[in-house]
Symmetry: C2
Subunit: 470 residues, 2 copies
Amino acid sequence: MALRAADQAFAERLRAALPDLWLGAPEPRYLEEPRGRFTGQGGYLAKPRSTAEVSALLRVCHAEGVAVLPYGGGTGLVSGQVAEDLAPLILSLERMTAVRALDADAIVVEAGMTLQAVHEAADSVGRRFPLTLASQGSAQIGGCLATNAGGVNVLRYGNARALCLGLEVVLADGTIWNGLSRLHKDNTGYDLRDLMIGSEGSLGIITAASLKLVVPPVEEGAAIFAVPSPDAAVELLGLAQGRLAGCISAFELIAKQGLSFLREVGPEVQFPFAEDPDWMVLIELGLPAGVSAQEAFADLYEAAGERVSDAVIAQSEAQRAAFWTLRESLPLANRRIGAISSHDISVPVSSIATFIASARAMLEGMGDYRINCFGHVGDGNLHFNVFPAKGRTRDAYENQRDAVKRAVHDLLVQRFEGSVSAEHGVGRLKVGDLETYSDPAKLAMMRAIKAALDPKGILNPGVVLRAEGK
Amino acid sequence: MALRAADQAFAERLRAALPDLWLGAPEPRYLEEPRGRFTGQGGYLAKPRSTAEVSALLRVCHAEGVAVLPYGGGTGLVSGQVAEDLAPLILSLERMTAVRALDADAIVVEAGMTLQAVHEAADSVGRRFPLTLASQGSAQIGGCLATNAGGVNVLRYGNARALCLGLEVVLADGTIWNGLSRLHKDNTGYDLRDLMIGSEGSLGIITAASLKLVVPPVEEGAAIFAVPSPDAAVELLGLAQGRLAGCISAFELIAKQGLSFLREVGPEVQFPFAEDPDWMVLIELGLPAGVSAQEAFADLYEAAGERVSDAVIAQSEAQRAAFWTLRESLPLANRRIGAISSHDISVPVSSIATFIASARAMLEGMGDYRINCFGHVGDGNLHFNVFPAKGRTRDAYENQRDAVKRAVHDLLVQRFEGSVSAEHGVGRLKVGDLETYSDPAKLAMMRAIKAALDPKGILNPGVVLRAEGK
């Protein structure tokens, strides 16, 4: 069924149905995405204040056949928040930021709250919401859940899906599903919560969520270990898991190339070693009472033998923060250099080293590139990004981009059974990849579920699955 | 659409399509369930040897409109494995028990393997598959996943859903979905894995699974703490989490009534205290290298003050095993006593104590009962079971059963926003409860998904959702 544009006639109808709704022209920021590859079309922007308003709004859109494009913090990297071929109703929940409930076990928040604000609310009761992203100051919790966001603490605490106890969702026809459970266990029927999480707004609009809080570990610390190779990094992880199972909060691989980019274009950071090693891992521990993080790191260093060539153990909170600033500056430096092709991929943990070596060898045969590979070793999740040779810009590589992307993905899927999107989602950017690399039965099931829950296809059309008739 | 019986004509057609398939009359055990409340009807039993056979079998059933009833280890407690009003094709995967792949990170197994056998395979590579159930010697991994099984280690490692990386599933029409991913992170589309897990065979037949393995903690130990009340147990958990975050593997509440039942009807166990305390918690810790479990328990005991009245810390592996034997004997003693009504419920952790007190007070006003309440404090999951007064049998209470069940569930849902099935699932036993207590939008979504993935309704009809026309 063809969708109609969110035009003036539609806006008038919507205003008539919801006289108190904030409705207007979208500012440019609602039509852009961080990598600057896509620009959205106008349409209208709505900023409802309540779940009831979202419901009433969806009822009108459903009746009129108007596409609804949910917009969170706008930090997504796969163009889930921008549609080039529609003039949709852009739906921002930025005015829905209430904390509906808070105790030591869970927090119930509205979808427009930033991840940072959720962290602060959890801190206020001595607890922690462990989902941590570089973009948490602007990323909204609704978007984090819609995209099943990951980040640096997945190894210990899981991704957004694992941290959510329940959802309130407005369905395509305006029906409100109250699934705001605060239960840790509930086996009454199909897992609709996890189906909605990661569906990128294509099955329903998340308006509120009940989130798991955790008790912060008594003793925390960070260290950067220099390792000779990715293989040594994976072995070090195994060794650390054997000694410190359950206490490793993060285990991040960093390549020399990432530090070179930081030295080249900034931002300014403190470098841990006088001479940048080929590979490093940033390790964060959260330990029980009575165990010193510094001693645990020292013991691990000793046990690691030749797997580790050098180490810096944070001696203060400031130094620990500096390590994380370094880690979180990597994507910004990457953006300043300008990638030819960025890959948010995952492989089985045991294949990390082989994949990196194989992909590097393959690309060396294809052209003159720099590769910056970093990521979450414990999750098998690498950000494998391909950049121009020094002194050149990505424009010079425009005609190689598709070939690079295709070659990396083919290698990844065909030889390593990997994923072409480990944590960023599908958005509009990777719809074609999904069609190319997914099991056909999976795609058929996804289409059947989309048709069952959103038969008119008004919810974020073109995201995850190709819109009908495209 | 009406389903037809798996009669002789159907069996002949199936034999013609799959001449090598084991097909015969089901022995009585395939028609029974542990609590003896339901008895299945005959039909035929098929024992395929491969996913290809399951697929071919489903194709025939789909074409003929014959119901398929998946049967795992038969240990489920909600009659998901027995249908009284159908003569279905019973499908047992007991011959599909291969380990398809095994390394330090993951194991890929066929669905008919027992949970115990999965544990042993994991042990053989120095790893652990942490899903632990009293029935693990007969429960099959396919059934554990289909019902999203829980158990005593959910607090640390999550339930079956959290421990599964990927699935191979045969859909209603025989299509095979190869989703046997060994990736820890994959954000390419809807979460079909978690949708299948917990769908109790009503959306697809799980034929194989890729499972997460964990590194066993270096130092493990168990203790039983006597506590004055459930409230003190919850406070003790909070205290333990503050000191030992990430290292608490189990935290099980046990009531004096449970020990009284064991003393009354067995099985024989070692009792931890000379005089049974009103309430106990069995705590299991898994700690990093260099930390002694006995010392951690001693420190916790000291910090607990009046929250704990006595404690026994296991001094040997044998004593630790004896603690767990005690815990795992509770359900057997319960069965020997014979419950009037059993409730596998969950509430927010902070409501555990108030729920127990309220339910007890309510039941005292209704009649002469004994209550045995035990369960997983950290998950908010209680097994709240109501028994006859001493010297009486449950037959004398037959006419009170529905009222007791209804009163407990009403209290639970209306006052505590709890779940009427925390870990056992819905099966056929709780379909009515789901209809009574679920959000209508949830039920409508579930029905839409069932219709989309199994339009003829042949997969385990009547489980989770009422079968069409019933």
